[in-house]
Structure formats: structure tokens, C-alpha cells
Symmetry: C2
Subunit: 712 residues, 2 copies
């Protein structure tokens, strides 16, 4: 839930750098072209090899992080459950079980408090699963600080705390965010936070390259989380890459493969079975061998939609009333305590005793009020990390649970999960939705005794909540290791999506919309052919001359009311006093670097006196360009001129005013543009289309609607 974070923080840096668009269009200025021309064919080959190496590194590090999270959660949750179990056993006889409840609640709250404090006060952007943020990043919107090292550290710490704290959350979603941060860091060859520059990978310090690596990182995250490398690739493509490139896809696939392999390798060693490689992902359903011969589809899309609708209202409530960090921490602690209480109450009032099996599959069997040699079956669902619960729901023999237990569990867990998603903690929604689906399915399964039904309810609910079809199918197929389920899984996912879409959008899209992020969908709304670039564009546009006065540039950049990021450069207008013809496009960031290095042409002197600026100067400043306020320009310097010819992009994409919105949209989406210049038939600049101009239009109930987007 990044909206809350953004509203509540009083971080000054954030005020200066609001969310921005990423620029996937290379600025092919003279400096760039010169560098490319100097490079030999061998140079390009080396670059390509470097890209592969970086992807390997990304995969490796992501796998390591996943491994670390897994071990830490196992350890901490293990200690916690052991302590509570001993306490319960002690007080079951003595009759003071409320002490156990308090112990449990306090332990949970303590863990969650740690995680929530870190998130709320140190890095609010690390809240939630991070999937909406990564979706936005891949779409071309840069949420501030989303791929920083600090975010990664807090995220990892936070997710360990919230899972160990017993919240109804998963640790899979945050892996995707973690992978993306690793990728953004590794590919730049330096850490701006640690002020350490390794002087490597300098070529990759621009948006285009960074986006490619971040896709690879996200894929590696999915791959590590679910042991699903192909699913990871498809996730990245489904969410992000509008321009599919074969080589890029292979690199993404490579990163995914390395990531799952690394996780598998280290977890095997940790579990004392090196070489067996049986843990390809964080989640592991075990093997399914039963045949599917019948599929029945419950209207689970409805339940998924219900989840999203309730969560939507809850989020709005939170935005209005719970926007102070300390309130957020308190809410998180409250949820943790309530979770413990509900769990305890469920266990306490359930009298569903099951005989303790020979093989002792339960790690923490609770006897409680059951007879000797029996255990409380409700405890297996609550007294466990959510993943283990899913696994026991799948694999425990029929008859382990009675229908009432399952029904009550499903309802309680559903309520807890809805409440939990959106708290100021790092956590994913994937496992909870699988868990609710599995419990629900098990309920049906008791009636019909099909393992398949569990699985399909599971799939159905998850599909209803997150609404990804292709990649989710592949992820689930890969996670079960059984291709046979492919067709039914897909059918179920589709149904869930269609039913769910009728009510409300997917959970991630709901949260993206709440944030008013200018998120571009795949196509322009179908009924928008009558809109033209003239109606869509922002106008008038601030343009610069090819040789412009420094004073004017500083004034324009300092104007906080406009806060533009790209400026068309026009041929000098002084001669005939009509608007100039377009001859290039220059970015705010480039101008700032030029101002910082004082690349001025003094009126009298020749151009030779100018210090020759290189691409390196721009790369060193990337991606945290200083704000204009920090650059001092003296009164004398304001009178100097700046020659932009060498630095501007001399061939920006342009469209005529009559171009229809779908056409503009396609150009924007396919090329990943940030600015598109609209010209008249004399090639004079008449307007500028940016991402926000396009994202405004949506299909509503009565046709096309114009949305109000955040004015950042």
C-alpha cells in the first residue's frame, strides 16, 4: 500500500522528486552518436556479454535473498511456535490459558511492531507486496525510491517480521520487488546510497537499459518465489515489456533460471540434502500425482471480487484517517494481536480432535483438550506459517479436517487477510489467497473427495484477486510440477477473471488506480477514435531556442508551477517572429547537468573555450539529478548563452495534430515514449503529449470518461 506511505511521509527529498515517467526512448544526441561510432563491433559484443553476466548476477543475488528470507522466517516462526506450544501445554493443565493467549499476542505484536516501525518510519515505500509498484515501474512510471538499496533492506527485514509475526500474509510478493531492486542496483555498478562507485557497467546508466534489467530482476523474483522460471518471464512480459525483444527475453529467462537454481542449491544444503535440489521455490506444494478427470467451477470470481471491494473501501478509510506513521504501526500491531486472538479462539473452541498419525507430519501438534494420542486439527491450520498450512491442506489424508472447522477457518482467514492487505508492513497477498482457496476447496473436497477441487478453488480465488491469466497459469503449473493441470487451470482462471472483472478490477489495479498513477493500459479505449492529438495534448509548450539564454533556462526550470521534464528545442524564432520549427528535444535532467558544469558560451569568446562535456558526465549524475535549487547561477552567468545543439535529441518523434488518440497511444506504448511533440504542417511545435495526457481516458459505464489524475 504505497499511497498511505506517500501521503504520510514528511521526507523532504520526496517533495522535490515526485513520481516521474521513465524515458525508454534513447536521447540520440551528438555525444551518444559519437560514442557509438567509436565503438567497434567487438565492443558491442562485449556489452552483450556483460548484459548476460549482469543477469546471472541478478539471478544469483535474488536467489540468495530468497534463501535468506526463507531460513530466517523458518527459524523465527519455529522459536515462536515452540515457546507458545510449551506455554499452552503448561497452562492447559493449570487452567490459565489466557496467559498463553497474551504471550502469543505479545510475541506476534512484537514481531509485527519491529517490521512496521521500520517500514512506517524508515521507508514507507517498502509496505505491501511491491507488485503494484513494480507493475508501474515496468509500465514506465517511476515511483520515488522504489528501487533503492534502503528499500530492499527494509523490505527484507519487514517481510521476515510480518510472516514470523503470524499475519495472514505471504513472503512471495515481496520477492518480486526485491529482485527488481537487486537488478536496478547491480546493473548500475554502484550504490548511490552507499556512495560507492565500482566504475563498471557505466554504459547501462540510463532508463532504457535499467528497465530491461529490472524486468529480469522481477522475473528472477517470481522464479525464486514459486520455482517458476517460465512463469517469471511471462510475468515480466505480461506486466511490462511492451516491446518484445528476443535477446532480452532470453536474458530474462537466464536470470530466472539462475535464481531458482541458486535458491534450490542453498536451501538443499541448508536442509542437509546437498545435490538433491528439491526446493526450486519458496513455495512448494509437493508433487501431485492424481489424475484430473472432472472440473467443477464455483463462482469464485465473486469471492475474489468481494475481497477487492472490501479492501478498496478499507484502503480509502486508511488514506483518510490512518495516515500518521505511529497510527499505522499501532494498526499493524492491533491486527497482529487480533490474528493471534482469533487463532487462539478458533483453536480453543474447536473440539475437532484427530488421531496423531504415525508419520507425524505436523511440526507443532497441539494436544490441548484432546485425548492423548490426538491433536487439535484447527491448530494445524493456524499454528503454522501460511505456506505450511497450504501444504497440509493439500496433502493431509482425507478425513483430517471436519467441514465445520474448515468453514469457520475459511471465513476467519478471509476476514483477516482482507484486513491485513494494505497494512504498513511488507507482505504479499498471494499465499493468503491460495490458503483461503485451498481451505474452501478442501471443504468441497470433503463432499466430492477430489484433490482437484481444492486445487481449482485455490487457483480460482487467486485468479479472482490478482487477475493475471497467462503468467499465473504457468506459475501454478510450474509450482506443482505437473503439466496436466494446464488446461483446467487456465479455464478456471479465465472464468475467475471474467466474473471478477464484471464487479471490480484486479487488486493490484485497484491500488494503482487509488494512487492516481498515470498507468497506461495495452490499448487506447476502443471508442476514442474521435479524439485527436490536438485535443489530448498539453498546450502551449515551453520551448527553448537552439542557443538559449542561461537566465531563461534557470527561470523555466525553477518554475514549480509547470515542472515540465522535456522541452522541445526550436530553431530561433527571432527572425520572423512566428513559432519556431522543431529541431530537437532536451530533457530537464540534461539541462541540469549542463548548468552544473556551466557549459556556457560567453557572448564574446569563441566556442572553443567551452569545456568538452562527455556522456560520462550525464551518466555519473544518473539517476539522482540534483534539483535546480541546488545549482547556483550568478547574475553574470545568467547573461551567458547555452548551445543545446550537441546535447538535445535531434530527431524526436513527432505527430501531426490530426492524429487519432489510438494512434498516438500505440506510438507511445510501443516505443516507451515520455514526450511526444505535436507539430503543425509547417513542423512548428503546437503541443506536447505526455503519459498523463493519455492515461486520463478510461472506459466507464457510459463510454469514454476523463479521469482526474494526481497533479504531480
Amino acid at each position: 500500500m504505497f499511497h498511505i506511505g506517500r501521503l504520510s511521509t514528511v521526507d523532504l527529498e520526496e517533495e522535490i522528486t515526485p513520481e516521474e515517467s521513465l524515458d525508454y526512448d534513447n536521447s540520440e544526441n551528438q555525444l551518444f552518436l559519437e560514442e557509438e561510432r567509436r565503438m567497434s563491433h567487438m565492443g558491442f559484443r562485449c556489452l552483450e556479454i556483460t548484459r548476460w553476466v549482469i543477469c546471472g548476477l541478478i539471478g544469483f543475488l535474488t536467489g540468495l535473498i530468497a534463501c535468506m528470507i526463507d531460513i530466517a522466517v523458518e527459524k523465527l516462526a519455529g522459536y515462536k511456535y515452540l515457546a507458545v506450544k510449551q506455554n499452552i501445554e503448561k497452562y492447559t493443565e493449570l487452567g490459565g490459558l489466557s496467559i498463553s493467549l497474551i504471550l502469543w499476542a505479545v510475541l506476534n505484536s512484537a514481531f509485527v511492531m519491529l517490521g512496521s516501525l521500520a517500514v512506517a518510519f524508515l521507508e514507507p515505500i517498502a509496505a505491501g507486496s511491491g507488485i503494484p509498484q513494480i507493475k508501474c515501474f515496468l509500465n514506465g512510471v517511476k515511483i520515488p525510491r522504489v528501487v533503492r538499496l534502503k528499500t530492499l533492506v527494509i523490505k527484507v527485514f519487514g517481510v521476515i517480521c510480518s510472516v514470523a509475526g503470524g499475519l495472514a500474509v505471504g513472503k512471495e510478493g515481496p520477492m518480486i520487488h526485491s529482485g527488481a531492486v537487486v537488478a536496478a542496483g547491480v546493473s548500475q555498478g554502484r550504490s548511490t546510497s552507499l556512495k560507492k562507485d565500482f566504475k563498471i557497467f557505466e554504459y547501462f546508466r540510463r532508463d532504457t537499459e535499467k528497465r530491461d534489467f529490472v524486468s529480469a530482476g522481477a522475473a528472477a523474483g517470481v522464479s525464486a518465489a514459486f520455482g517458476a522460471p517460465v512463469g517469471g518471464v511471462l510475468f515480466s512480459l505480461e506486466e511490462g515489456a511492451s516491446f518484445w525483444n528476443q535477446l532480452l527475453t532470453w536474458r530474462i529467462f537466464f536470470a530466472s533460471m539462475v535464481s531458482t537454481f541458486t535458491l534450490n542449491f542453498f536451501l538443499s544444503i541448508y536442509h542437509g540434502k546437498p545435490g538433491q535440489l528439491s526446493s526450486p521455490g519458496l513455495i512448494n506444494f509437493g508433487r501431485f500425482d492424481s489424475d484430473v478427470s472432472s472440473v467443477f467451477i464455483v463462482f469464485r470470481g465473486v469471492l475474489g471480487a468481494l475481497f477487492n471491494i472490501i479492501n478498496y473501501w478499507l484502503t480509502i478509510f486508511r488514506i483518510r484517517y490512518i495516515h500518521r506513521p505511529c497510527l499505522q504501526v499501532m494498526e499493524a500491531m492491533l491486527v497482529a494481536a487480533v490474528t493471534a486472538t482469533v487463532s487462539f479462539a478458533m483453536i480453543y473452541f474447536s473440539n475437532d480432535c484427530q488421531p496423531l498419525g504415525q508419520d507425524n507430519t505436523e511440526e507443532y501438534p497441539l494436544q490441548l483438550f484432546c485425548a492423548d494420542g490426538e491433536y487439535n486439527s484447527m491448530a494445524t491450520a493456524f499454528f503454522n506459517t501460511p505456506e505450511r498450512s497450504v501444504r497440509s491442506l493439500f496433502h493431509n489424508p482425507p478425513g483430517t479436517y471436519n467441514p465445520v472447522t474448515l468453514g469457520v477457518f475459511t471465513l476467519a482467514y478471509f476476514a483477516l487477510a482482507v484486513w491485513t492487505y494494505g497494512l504498513t508492513v511488507s507482505a504479499g497477498v498471494f499465499i493468503p489467497s491460495l490458503l483461503i482457496g485451498a481451505a474452501w476447496g478442501r471443504l468441497f473436497g470433503i463432499l466430492l473427495s477430489f484433490i482437484a477441487s481444492i486445487w481449482f478453488c485455490c487457483v480460482n480465488l487467486t485468479g479472482g484477486i490478482v487477475r493475471m491469466t497467462l503468467s499465473l497459469t504457468v506459475i501454478l503449473v510450474e509450482a506443482t510440477g505437473n503439466v496436466t493441470y494446464g488446461f483446467p487451470i487456465m479455464l478456471v482462471l479465465m472464468t475467475a477473471k471474467i466474473v471478477g472483472d464484471y464487479f471490480i478490477e484486479g487488486l493490484y489495479d485497484v491500488h494503482i488506480k487509488l494512487q492516481s498513477v498515470p498507468f497506461l493500459h495495452w490499448d487506447a479505449p476502443p471508442t476514442s477514435h474521435w479524439l485527436t492529438a490536438r485535443e489530448v495534448m498539453s498546450s502551449p509548450v515551453t520551448c527553448f531556442n537552439r542557443v538559449e539564454k542561461v537566465g531563461r533556462i534557470v527561470d523555466v526550470l525553477s518554475n514549480t508551477s509547470t515542472n515540465h521534464n522535456g522541452f522541445p528545442v526550436v530553431s530561433d524564432t527571432t527572425e520572423n517572429d512566428e513559432p519556431g520549427k522543431i529541431c530537437g528535444l532536451i530533457l530537464r535532467s540534461q539541462l541540469i547537468v549542463l548548468l552544473k558544469h556551466k557549459v556556457f558560451v560567453e557572448r564574446a569568446s569563441s566556442r572553443l573555450s567551452q569545456r568538452k562535456l562527455q556522456l560520462k558526465d550525464f551518466r555519473d549524475a544518473y539517476p539522482r539529478f540534483p534539483p535546480i535549487q541546488s545549482i547556483h547561477v550568478s547574475q553574470d552567468e545568467r547573461e551567458c548563452m547555452m548551445d543545446l545543439t550537441e546535447f538535445m535529441n535531434p530527431t524526436p518523434y513527432t505527430v501531426p495534430q490530426e492524429t487519432s488518440l489510438p494512434r498516438v497511444f500505440k506510438l507511445f506504448r510501443a516505443l516507451g515514449l515520455r514526450h511526444l511533440v505535436v507539430v503543425d504542417n509547417e513542423n512548428r511545435v503546437v503541443g506536447l503529449v505526455t503519459r498523463k495526457d493519455l492515461a486520463r481516458y478510461h472506459v466507464g459505464k457510459d463510454g469514454l470518461e476523463e479521469l482526474h489524475l494526481a497533479q504531480t
Copy 2:
């Protein structure tokens, strides 16, 4: 091998319609915009539903065709082997085995002759696997007659004949082509060949929509061939779709799923086990359950490269000397006879007898000179359809084959496969390469007794020959039904690709190159930044005025020396005598429809007298627009004027002259353009970039090279 076909045929129609580019850019002229404006939101939703229905139909029909091919091949090959087996058994005792050889050779040649005659004389484009042609189609090059009904019929007939005729070929490749033809047919709602118009799906009669459906068809083909729906989706994306669209992908996935399900359903019924659904694809490796704990990689990329190099020289030889249809048929028959002879000789001289198992897995065990209760093991490899051979290589227990048998078999089959690919028969190269790989792997497997080694050699060789990484990995994983092999398969495929690329390109690319097709790769060559649009474009360009004389249009269109397909429309040049400003782009096909309907403005009369042309008129003519020669324009009419304003695309994409080649390339590739207008800074037309201008540039040994492309 479509080059041979093209060179040899003396089909007049082909002379008139040389290979063309597809236009994925919608011509958004006034007619189109008016239609879109009239459509309600509901109308667009209906269209979307129709698209899904069509994709379902495509999948269903493709599955049916696959089913038909499979049953026909099984039946025919069954009769053949039964006849030969009885004959051999008869003559083994009598001592006249040469008669059996002749019978075998004659049967093979007869089958192959039928197939080859149909292909060579009726539809040369149906030769080969069709994968290169579909790759080209998805890339945007339309090889003439590649998606016609006649091609489909000949292809299906041809592939049945060639597989039944015992050639070293597979029936999987042609399925991809078949699926594409089905898609192109179904989506248009009519058959031009059968002169039957169902008056449905008229909206989809344009290149953009057709391409989308053809991707779905190709995916459905892959899915039916290998039982790999996700692999099918990835194949379509890897080969074709440059612009990834989520909704499109889901539709493609749906078509794939329906296709494999249909095949599965009907084959199960045919095999008398309805409801069991155990035949998801034409190829079926059976289940692998063994664990992979070690991988060794032989330098199989080298062998794959060898295959491609030999085949390259052979193809060149064929283009030079074997270009008459009757010669082609004779060569095919010769290969069939030689295949029979080689097989027979191998069986005859092999004295590798194996005891007949209890379970009798061999369908046609040949005793020959073996003792009673034993069978000739070489016969199991040759006396079978290639797929069954692959399966027996995988699943027969260790010790079934001796190393010498396998070694000789591998070499012989390799030679036969190289010779066979490129014959004028419909056939695929996938199964032969799997078979060679499997035999080779089994050879290693005897030494190391790993089923894994068979598999990896198999994968490796196939990877070495066809060089698709991602989709092939997924196809093979799905075909085996075991996800565990994913990582090793990918590693092996990568190695094969890297090693192979060092020597020569993939087989399909070799054949595409031989054809001089203007095939666009994913990116511009890396060292091409110094080339600008000015150097790349064709110039001067034939332009039309907004209101143009009919005589001039007819003359320009009739000029066979230029044969352009797109013409920039400029504002009238008469006023100031300088080149006109761009105001639109009109296609040859549109002009032809206009001429056919005589949409002329007579000098005196008002515009109201014009018959109002509708989009429907353009759609009815799509895709076989009549040649200009067939349109009669009288001398009086030549003096009339034509107003192009309503019909031209008023907002074509343009670039300035200084745009670098990679930038032009990206725009072209991402938007699927056919024509890109180059303008100067006054918006005057100075040149036109087409696909051929871009495809000329390739990276050679010494950097950038300019290729000579076919002047069609």
C-alpha cells in the same frame, strides 16, 4: 523449401503478385474513422467476443486436422509395414529378399511420388515444413499463396504421403503452417478460392487483424503438434509479435488450449479410450519419471551446424540444377527408394538380435535371421514411423540396442535427414533431429546409463538445428510433462545455440536468407548508428496530389519498373512549384479499388454525383486486389480527377532525414510499418523507407554489410 517452388513455377498469377509486405499499420482514413465513430461501446465488446469465438474455432479446426493427419499416417504406415513384413517373412525362408527390398522401395516411392506430384505441380509453396514461411508472415512478409485453402489441402495430403512413404521427416512442422492457413481462412469469414462469402467477420478483413489471427493459428498448430499450449504461445511471440498485447496473448493461449484439447479428445475416442485424454499432442514421449542429477553437454551445436551447412550447399545445388517440377518429383522418389534401401541394408547386415519381451512393445518386430523368440533390433529403429522410433529409444529398457547398431543408425539417419530436408514434399525437420539426437544420446547413455543423456543430446541437436531457445524449452518441457528438466534443457539449448551460431545460422534462417526475403530481425545491427534515414531511404518518391488526374494514377500504377505499393499524398504543388508538404499516404490497393469503382470527379460536375464508397468495398476486395491491367479506364476517364482526401491515411508516421537507422528500425518494427515517409524540416517529402531498405543491412565478419535483396 519455398525458393525452389518460386523459381520453378510458371504460374502467371505469381508473376503479378510477387511477395509483398503486410501492413500492420491501420489506414485511419475518414471512412474508417466514421465507421469507428458510429460504433457503440457495445459494438466493440461484440467484436472482442467475436475474436474469442474465432480463436476457439481456429483451435478446434487445427486440432481436427492434426487428428486427421495422425490417423491417416498411422493407418497407411501400418498397412505398408504389414505388407513388407509379411513379404520379408515369406522370403526370409525362400531366400529372395531382394524382392522384399523392391516391394519396400516401390511402396515408399509410390507414396512419396503422390505427395511430391501434388506439391510440385499443384502448389509448390506447400513444400517443406512451412515454418520459414510462417516466420516470414509473422515478421511482415507475405509470401504469395502461403495462406490459401489449396495450400492447406496439398500440405495435409503431402505430409501424410511423405511420412507414410518412410522419409526421414516429421509431421509436426507442417501443423504450424496448417494452423496458420486455418486461421487466415476462418477469420475472414469466406473462401476466395471456393468463391463463398459467409458475410461474417467482415471487420477483420485487413492485415492487422489477420496477422493477429495467424499468430493464434500458428500457436494452435504448435500446440496440437507437441501438446504444448504455452510453448505455442511463446513460439508465436518469439517469431512474430513485435508488439506484445495482453489481450491478444490470451486469445492466442485460448486457441492453443482448444487445439490441444480437441486433438486429445478425438484421438482418445479413436484409440477407444474416451475421457482418458492421454494424447495431448501428435508427438508423445510418454512420461519421464527419472531424476536428473547430472548433466553432460556434448558439442552437439557443432553437429547441428554441420547439418545446416550441408543442407545449405544442397539447397544451392537444388536451386541451380533441380528446378523443374518433374525433376523434383524424381528426386523425391529417389530419396524414398534410397531410404528404403539404406534401411533394408542396415537391417539386413545388422546381426544385433534381442529377445522378444513379454510385453511386446514392438508393433512390427522383425525376426529375419534371428533365432526364434528374438527380433532384429535395427528394425525397430527403421521399421517404424520416426516418432515411434523416438519413443522406443526413450523407453526401451537398457540393453535393447548395442552401440554399433546405434552408431551406424545415427550416421545413416543423419545423412538421410540432411538430404530429405528441402525436397519438394511437405515435411518437418523436428522429429528427425529429435531422432538423431535420441539415438546419439542412447549411444552415450549405454556408456553412462542415464536417460538424461539421451534427452539432452536430443534437445541439443534440435536446438542446434532450429535455434529457438525459449519456446523450444517450453515445448520440450510440456511434451515430456516434467518441469524438472527445465533448467538443464535450457542450458543445453543455450550452449547449442551459442556453439552453432559461431558456425552458421539456424536452419530456418538459412532458408529465409537463401530466399532473399526482406526479413527484419529484432534490432538494427549494433554498429549502424552512423547511418541516417537520408542514406537508407529510397528517393525520389512518386507522390500524388490530393486531387490527382486519373491518367497519371493509372500510368504510375502500370509502371512495372517501379511497382511501388504506397504513395505519399502531398498538398498541391502547382501553386509555388516546390515539392509539396506531406498530407497523407495512400496504398496501391486502395487506388485500385477507387479506379475499379470509378470514383472520379468530373471537371464540371459537383462532388455530390460521386457514388459514396464505403469501407465494405475495400474489405470485399481484400486480400486479392485485382491487378491494374484488369481495370479498363477509357481515354475520357483519364482526363477526370480523383479526390484522395477521404481515402488516404491522413496521419502517416514520418521521420526527419537525420534520424539514425536504429531509430527508424525500432519505429518500423514496433509498429509493424510498411512505409515510413522521410520529410525535411518543412514537412516536404524527400524519401520513403520500406522494409527492403532496412533488411539490406546485416552484420558480417568485418562489421556492417549491405546485402543484395531480390528485386521483387
